[in-house]
């Protein structure tokens, strides 16, 4: 079962209201490392340091400033600024609906499951799921949760609604800014490439991928903790495919895949 309720709100658009509870949808469990001082293995902490005096400053002595000019700040309550609607409204306000496919993956951030706040809203909830599902639409919305404003998308998956937070456009670097060179690729190369990819295509089954590394890492730690010697292995570095050999390599790949 998903995590407990973390927040309650109401999906609102037009004169429609669907009260919902947010649940965490993802939980990460990973081997935790800490950062140590090399010479004596003292565990280090992240600290806010005064850049002039190089001394730590405790949280109660910290304030937030918005830099209006180099070295000049307007003192602000960051939470107050980040909150575009009052938190008390509890409204997940849908501003518009867009085709789900238009939301580029790079914009998607966290996902929450939405549960109807009460069985009384079951049919309304089901209707919204059904409508979004049938139309392949997502509702672009904003809301304020824990004193921060979020941009997000309400989407349907199976029988439930999900709420994804979206990154703001000024947080996502555009591919155009990478200034990639336009390099001509022949139709023949593209055709063979497509055929190769078709050959190598499988259904999306993420459950078949396990984090094997985690186990091996644990083994390495155990070994080292017992004082045994750890054999260092060099990473494998592949020889890049030469530009003028690309067609040849693609053809060989295709033969291998077939």
């Amino acid at each position: 079962m998903s995590g407990g309720t973390i927040w309650k709100g109401s999906v609102h658009f037009g004169d429609m209201d669907v009260p919902v509870k947010l649940h965490t949808a993802v939980k990460e469990e990973r081997i935790q490392f800490h950062l140590l001082h090399r010479r004596d293995r003292v565990r280090l902490h992240q600290q806010m340091i005064c850049v002039y005096e190089k001394t730590p400053v405790q949280p109660e002595a910290q304030i937030k400033g918005f830099e209006v000019e180099e070295g000049k700040y307007v003192i602000v309550d960051q939470e107050e600024l980040e909150q575009t609607t009052p938190e008390s409204s509890r409204m997940i306000e849908v501003h518009e609906f867009v085709k789900s496919s238009q939301i580029y993956p790079l914009f998607l951030d966290h996902v929450y499951y939405l549960e109807p706040d009460s069985e009384i809203y079951a049919s309304r909830y089901n209707e919204l799921v059904g409508a979004l599902q049938r139309m392949s639409m997502a509702g672009i919305c904003t809301w304020t949760m824990r004193k921060r404003s979020y941009l997000g998308a309400v989407q349907a998956r199976g029988k439930i609604l999900r709420l994804s937070t979206l990154r703001y456009a000024d947080e996502v670097i555009s591919a155009a800014s990478l200034e990639l060179q336009e390099i001509p690729v022949s139709e023949k190369e593209l055709n063979i490439g497509s055929e190769l990819i078709n050959q190598l295509t499988a259904p999306f089954e993420p459950q078949k991928f396990k984090n094997e590394h985690q186990k091996r890492l644990q083994q390495l730690i155990d070994k080292k903790a017992r004082g045994e010697k750890v054999v260092l292995l060099r990473p494998r570095i592949l020889q890049p495919t030469a530009q003028d050999k690309l067609l040849e390599v693609l053809e060989a790949s295709l033969k291998k895949a077939a």
Binding site: V51, K54, E67, E70, I173, A176, S177, L178, E179, Q181, E182
Partner: protein, 301 residues
């Protein structure tokens, strides 16, 4: 959105948003900004070369939000030259070096109206190649007061056998540069020297000069900001545009010209606009060239 792809030295650069009005009261668009930097480049690039660039970006034009960018964006073109510099006591940071026209135009395509550079080059970050007196007028003081202080400063420096070169800040102040260009120069020396000069100036001209940072002490006076002589500080690069209402440039002046302008007594006449900047360098070359080559040592230290 207009886009235009240009090619310089075989490198392709996509320019975007060219019609964006970056100086709205002047109708000065991004295309104008790019054109200005293209035309001034031959004179400006030697002053930018190998210096860790700080961009002051105005994506929505002057008067709107701006951002200081010191870290070279990860998405920089592969051909743009970068350098690793130490930031603070520990962290390393990648910075952009505007060593050629294409990089200059790339950063300008990011609407980096102002280009700020340190007084040292990335290869020798602790070695200033010039000492600077940043003359900043407090409230009720003007660029003319700065010019008067600059002229006194010049006499002092000349008597110490140091040649100096003034430029406008493009805002309200003036910058007086003393070229050093010798390997043993340190910021410690330039700081102590400039500070001593500032303090002595303040002592002798208390109504005109202050060496103190505090705002309330600056009213009606010229603040000689000696603390710019520091590895962590940057100055507006000569020939950079400034993000003011009008497209003024930080531009080098001759001492004689400065004397004449002080006699005329019109603050506006000290400002150099982009168009004048281009025609002046084309006619008389780079007045700031000596700052890059003249070797001088600070005496009495």
């Amino acid at each position: 959105m207009s886009r235009k792809v240009i090619e310089i030295a075989g490198r392709r650069l996509a320019l975007s948003n060219l019609e964006k009005d970056l100086y709205p009261s002047w109708g000065f668009t991004k295309a104008h900004v790019l054109d200005y930097y293209r035309r001034i480049a031959a004179f400006m690039l030697p002053h930018l070369k190998d210096r860790a660039l700080t961009l002051k970006r105005y994506p929505d034009g002057v008067g709107k939000a701006f951002f200081f960018v010191k870290r070279c964006p990860d998405y920089h073109p592969v051909w743009a030259k970068t350098a690793e510099v130490r930031r603070g006591s520990s962290k390393m940071m990648t910075v952009c070096l505007a060593n050629n026209l294409e990089t200059l135009l790339w950063v300008e395509n990011l609407a980096s109206l102002e280009l700020h550079v340190p007084l040292s080059r990335t290869g020798s970050p602790e070695t200033p190649d010039a000492m600077v007196f940043d003359l900043d007028p407090g409230e009720q003081a003007t660029i003319l007061d700065c010019a008067i202080v600059a002229l006194i400063l010049r006499i002092l420096l000349t008597r110490l056998r140091l040649a100096s070169y003034p430029k406008t800040s493009g805002q309200k102040g003036l910058h007086v540069y003393v070229p050093l260009n010798y390997r043993e120069a340190t910021f410690e020396d330039t700081k102590i020297f400039s500070k001593t000069v500032a303090v002595i100036m303040q002592k002798n001209y208390p109504d005109l000069v202050t060496a103190k940072m505090a705002k309330e002490q600056r009213t009606g006076k010229v603040f000689i900001n000696w603390s710019q002589n520091d590895a962590s500080k940057t100055m507006i690069c000569v020939y950079s545009l400034r993000a003011r209402e009008k497209p003024f440039v930080s531009f080098p002046l001759e001492w004689k010209e400065l004397e004449r302008l002080v006699r005329q007594g019109k603050p506006e006449s000290l400002q150099v606009m982009y168009s004048e900047a281009v025609s002046r360098v084309e006619e008389s070359g780079d007045l700031f060239r000596q700052v890059l080559i003249k070797k001088q040592k600070l005496p009495h230290l």
